[in-house]
């Protein structure tokens, strides 16, 4: 979807149409832009940019805090439309999807015609514009859709993937991040075309097993299908303090609050976690993290919060202000309960307590009930 959050806002509030709309956190605080309408992009505003900068670049912009509920509703409608075309839809994010249309020609015609029909359906029924890339693999399709933006459609014919990719800088390829691109540049490789000309042995020496795979990817030869079942690998929450924090107990309370929120989400998805990681960023941007692995997968606040607190104590070795804290849970599995040998009764109580809290919060919101220590 094109400038999704901003476009949804413009859709619901016609007076905003044609105006630069910027969705993100508090523009006077430290949050970042989550979406900018195309009118705002003219001023150089783009997502992930600090809101304060966006305000400087585009003082006349309409700054909105974002409404996750509304975006979620529109997103569900959008996915509903996609599923009318094919059942093979991979949800990549709230406004991004991969569709496998193999075998759908009989119903909707060739992929290009089908892409056209999808764009039309989204425009007519949602009033939003979507960009689509059509190609023989996930990664090429993604790149094509990015190049098609805004409101465009780009087809890479089968067999022409390498030609299409060749002039593009290596960073365009999903999976080639900062580190890989830096190393590629070190080898004198700037474009995906350069990468296809490289020797496998050299690539293997620099990148290991991943090397030859990279080259295949650059040539558009890996026909990666959909990740039909892409189980979640981790979930987490982090927060940047409005002002750097020196008060350690207060930081601990924030961490406990984040943990409660993540744990609630964990339980809502019916999952349990083996590993918990705490992240700290100091005022000078030094970032440190530390993880703890439990003997079995856990999902209660009362087990995870003390572990988070211990990790925080072990991690926090400096006397500088703390800018950001985060908690994440990983090695997730479906919540299978491993009963405890020594305190099964306590375990049952904790479980009931968490279930009760979750029910109250589902109905009355997160702040309706909480642990008393947070009042301090």
């Amino acid at each position: 979807m094109d400038a999704f959050f901003a476009a949804v806002e413009q859709l619901y509030r016609p007076e905003l149409r044609g105006k630069p709309v910027i969705v993100g956190g508090d523009p006077d605080g430290r949050s970042v832009v989550s979406a900018a309408s195309y009118e705002a992009r003219v001023f150089g505003v783009h997502s992930a940019m600090p809101m304060a900068w966006a305000r400087k670049l585009c003082p006349q912009g309409v700054f909105l805090p974002g409404d996750g509920k509304k975006y979620g509703q529109v997103s569900r409608l959008m996915f509903g439309i996609l599923e009318e075309f094919t059942p093979d839809v991979e949800e990549a994010s709230v406004d991004e999807a991969y569709l496998d249309v193999t075998g759908c020609e009989r119903l909707f015609g060739p992929p290009l015609a089908m892409a056209h029909a999808i764009r039309l359906a989204i425009r007519e029924r949602l009033g939003l514009s979507a960009s689509i890339g059509v190609a023989t693999s996930r990664s090429v399709a993604k790149i094509a859709s990015e190049l098609a933006k805004p409101d465009g459609l780009l087809l890479v014919p089968p067999g022409r993937e390498a030609d299409f990719l060749a002039p593009l800088p290596v960073e365009r390829m999903p999976g080639i991040g900062e580190t890989t691109s830096r190393r590629l540049r070190g080898l004198g490789i700037r474009t995906l075309g350069d990468l296809t000309l490289m020797d496998d042995t050299l690539l293997a020496r620099v990148f290991g097993k991943y090397g030859p795979l990279l080259r295949e990817k650059a040539a558009g030869r890996n026909h990666d299908g959909l990740r039909e079942f892409a189980p979640r690998k981790s979930m987490g929450k982090e927060t940047t303090f409005p002002r750097d924090m020196v008060d350690r107990p207060a930081v601990g309370r924030t961490l406990a609050l984040l943990t409660e929120k993540v744990c609630r989400k964990l339980r809502a998805e019916g999952l349990a976690a083996r590993t918990v990681t705490v992240k700290l960023r100091y005022s000078d941007f030094q970032t440190v993290s530390r993880a703890h692995t439990f003997d079995t997968a856990v999902f209660y606040d009362s087990i995870i919060i003390p572990a988070v607190w211990d990790l925080f104590q072990q991690l926090d070795s400096r006397r500088t202000g703390i800018r950001l804290v985060g908690v994440s849970l990983s090695r997730l599995q479906t919540a299978v309960r491993q009963w405890s040998l020594f305190d099964a009764a306590a375990q049952r109580k904790q479980e009931n307590l968490c279930r009760g809290l979750d029910l109250i919060r589902d109905r009355f919101g997160f702040t309706a009930i909480g642990v008393a220590s947070r009042l301090a």
Partner: protein, 372 residues
């Protein structure tokens, strides 16, 4: 210092010590092995330590000049390993921080640390008790796997050793399962009952030593701060863990309603087979027990399902129990009897596994079930 030692004898001793030596170099001296040639009995002593666990051993040597030095452990062991099998090695110091290691045509000079910087390894203290080596080894083997992997759970982080005039017991747990073994043995010179938590790392090192060589006896002693295990020329010294081990007696279930008997190998093979498709993280295997038959079943949303039927002598109510396959296999891998007894009551109560038949020890393994 100037000594001559046999390559194979030195390597054997070094390989006992290197596992305890620190890999990280927070304290550089801890990555070294102390060689001390100040004794008069034609042996040198070798020692390594990470401050929690220390190993001291000895090796016959031809001492031409007394002295001592701390040599980098990994480099020394590797160097000795790559020398010809039946060669002799000459080790002589150049000064307090350099040593020559000469064998045949190979000559190396290594940068070392002076011996006085090496931490002192406490001498064996207290009355010692003699424990047969094979009993100790077997008891560790039967309990070591259920020690917790979580560093922070310090009261569980080891094996509980209980000695009394008439028996020796070991217990370990990670909070979800527990292994308990008890052997009858007279300890006449034991003055009062002993109940000590042996740290996990110490147990692991002790087990390695007991596996590498056969020892008739292990002499065990303790003082306020340390545990000592002496096996012939080898001494293992460990720091004592503080902390209250949970009340294990309370969680050993008694009077469980139902009882099944399995052929150990058959149960193990069945578990192994269905385990291939168990969920990677939860590792859950369902035991669906019905009259005359037990069905082992695993499910993995990504990979599929597996089932295995076992005939059983059972006529009670249907029960469905979930267990962590790793917990089951770790027990089935070490239990010695041909048959095992499995006792259970319901899907939230502990299950009890134990060997079936006449044995000269008691072995119990308690596992808490898993549920959705």
């Amino acid at each position: 210092m100037k000594i001559k030692v046999s390559r194979s004898e030195l390597l054997h001793e070094l390989s006992q010590i290197t596992p305890v030596v620190e890999k990280s170099t927070k304290l550089p001296i801890l990555s070294h092995i102390l060689i001390d040639a100040n004794r008069d009995d034609e042996t040198i002593s070798l020692a390594g330590s990470d401050l929690d666990v220390s190993i001291k051993t000895s090796c016959p040597a031809n001492i031409e000049e007394k002295g001592a030095i701390a040599i980098p452990a990994r480099e020394l062991t590797d160097l000795v390993r790559y020398l010809p099998e039946d060669s002799d090695i000459e080790i002589c110091t150049e000064d307090s921080e350099r040593v020559f290691i000469i064998s045949g045509k190979s000559k190396s000079r290594m940068v070392c640390l002076p011996d006085e910087t090496f931490p002192e390894i406490p001498a064996i203290g207290g009355e010692d008790i003699t424990i047969p080596g094979d009993i100790l080894r077997k008891m560790i083997q039967m309990t070591i796997f259920s020690v917790t992997q979580e560093q922070s759970r310090f009261t569980l982080n080891g094996i509980l050793l209980i000695l009394n005039r008439n028996f020796i017991k070991m217990v370990s747990t990670d909070g979800h399962r527990m292994a308990y073994v008890e052997a009858t043995k007279e300890f006449e010179n034991l003055e009062k009952d002993l109940k000590i938590l042996i740290p996990k790392k110490t147990v692991a090192e002790l087990y390695k030593i007991l596996q590498a060589d056969q020892y008739l006896f292990v002499q065990f002693a303790n003082d306020e701060n340390h545990l000592f295990f002496k096996m012939e020329n080898r001494l293992l010294v460990s720091r004592l863990l503080a902390g209250q081990f949970p009340n294990y007696e309370l969680v050993i279930p008694r009077n469980l309603k139902n009882k099944l008997i399995f052929t150990t190998q058959k149960l193990k093979q069945s578990v192994n087979r269905v385990n291939v498709l168990a969920d990677e993280i939860s590792k859950r295997i369902m035991f669906k027990i019905t009259s005359g038959q037990m069905l082992l079943r695993t499910e993995n949303i990504k990979k599929g399902e597996a089932e295995m039927e076992i005939e059983i002598d059972y006529s009670g109510a249907d029960v469905s129990l979930g267990f962590n396959s790793q917990y089951l296999l770790e027990f089935l891998n070490v239990v010695e009897s041909e048959e095992v007894i499995f006792e259970f009551s319901d899907n939230e109560a502990p299950g009890l596994f134990r060997p079936h038949g006449e044995l000269d020890y008691v072995y119990k393994y308690v596992i808490m079930p898993m549920s959705i």
